[in-house]
């Protein structure tokens, strides 16, 4: 993590937050987060939301008849290829 001035304000930190989160580094280790309860709480909440969102979308089975539709579409597609081009 790059060196940051200790006097970094919340506004400055939050302006950098999109980059920090996207950097792959642990934002929780950022000096500002360590000394600022508000920004630490914000970060925890954003992480909690992302985590909760991932649980919202389990994988589901498509309806059985979908394969029949796909087969028909493929058949039609292949039939179209056989048609002489005009």
């Amino acid at each position: 993590m790059s060196e940051v001035p200790k006097s970094m304000s919340c506004a400055e930190f939050q302006a950098q937050l999109p980059d920090l989160i996207g950097s792959g580094e642990s934002v929780g280790e950022h000096p500002h987060v360590k000394e600022c309860d508000l920004c630490r709480e914000l970060l925890e909440q954003l992480e909690a939301i992302a985590h909760a969102a991932r649980q919202l979308f389990p994988e589901v089975e498509p309806p059985d008849e979908l394969w029949e539709h796909i087969k028909s579409a493929i058949k039609e597609d292949e039939g179209g290829k056989d048609q002489p081009s005009t």
């Binding site: 919340c10 506004a11 939050q14 302006a15 937050l17 999109p18 980059d19 989160i21 996207g22 508000l38 709480e41 914000l42 909440q45 954003l46 909690a48 939301i49 992302a50 909760a52 969102a53 991932r54 649980q55 919202l56 979308f57 389990p58 994988e59 589901v60 089975e61 498509p62 309806p63 979908l66 394969w67 539709h69 796909i70 087969k71 579409a73 493929i74 597609d77």
Partner: protein, 223 residues
């Protein structure tokens, strides 16, 4: 992608190539075997064996349908897009060269189908200017003062689902691609033809909007 065996080259083209040379059909046996799709099965499908293609459908239908459902939020459209994705796969499977895992390649193909549909619907996938220039209400300072926030404990799933559904389309798309589908910002930037900074910025705004929506919800609950 963040999952195992899911490395995507940042230079992989967004639009999958069509009509490549016969050389493109030579599949790396080792790579395809490592993806959970037996190389022999893949080769048969590439050679036009319908039974092999049906097996590939069985192996991947859940993942692709779920992806379409998440991205569109509508079962009928998800079925339609799953069908389109597998039709595209049938047309293009011969161009798979094993440069990435087959499942990654197929996932990306399906994402492209979804994006094409969203564009067709006239959806602005990303707002370049807005994303780079925060509006007054989106300046960082608005995140201050979390004293009225009660997001502690379990997040209300229904409220979160509603908040995600209510996100502006561009924000929702990036949130889904990054936080749910696991794509990195460079991949999203590639898919949506925007800058990496833009992708990061929009994701952050999406998360802040979700947080705000949950705050409103929890304040309402507390009354």
């Amino acid at each position: 992608m963040k999952g195992p065996d899911e490395e995507v080259s940042g230079t992989e083209p967004v639009e999958l190539a069509v009509g490549q040379s016969a050389a493109a059909k030579s599949v790396s046996v080792r790579e395809s075997a490592a993806t959970g799709v037996p190389a022999e099965l893949l080769e048969r499908a590439q050679a036009g064996d319908h039974r092999a293609f049906a097996e590939i459908y069985s192996l991947h239908k859940r993942r692709i349908y779920s992806l379409c459902l998440r991205m569109l939020g509508n079962a009928a459209e998800a079925e339609d897009l799953t069908q389109e994705a597998f039709l595209q796969l049938h047309r293009k499977i011969g161009t798979f060269r094993g440069e990435s895992a087959f499942s990654t390649w197929l996932h990306r193909l399906a994402i492209n189908v979804v994006l094409m549909r969203l564009r067709k619907k006239g959806l602005q996938l990303i707002s370049l200017d807005e994303a780079m220039e925060p509006t007054t209400e989106e300046r960082p300072g608005r995140s201050f003062g979390t004293d009225d926030l009660s997001l502690t404990g379990a997040i209300d799933r229904l409220a979160l689902q509603r908040a995600i559904d209510d996100l502006p389309a561009g924000y929702r798309l990036i949130f889904m691609l990054h936080d749910i589908e696991g794509y990195e910002h460079n991949e999203i930037a590639d898919m949506l033809r925007c800058s990496i900074g833009n992708s990061k910025s929009q994701l952050h705004k999406a998360r802040l909007k979700l947080r705000d929506a949950l705050r409103v919800h929890s304040r309402g609950e507390g009354r």
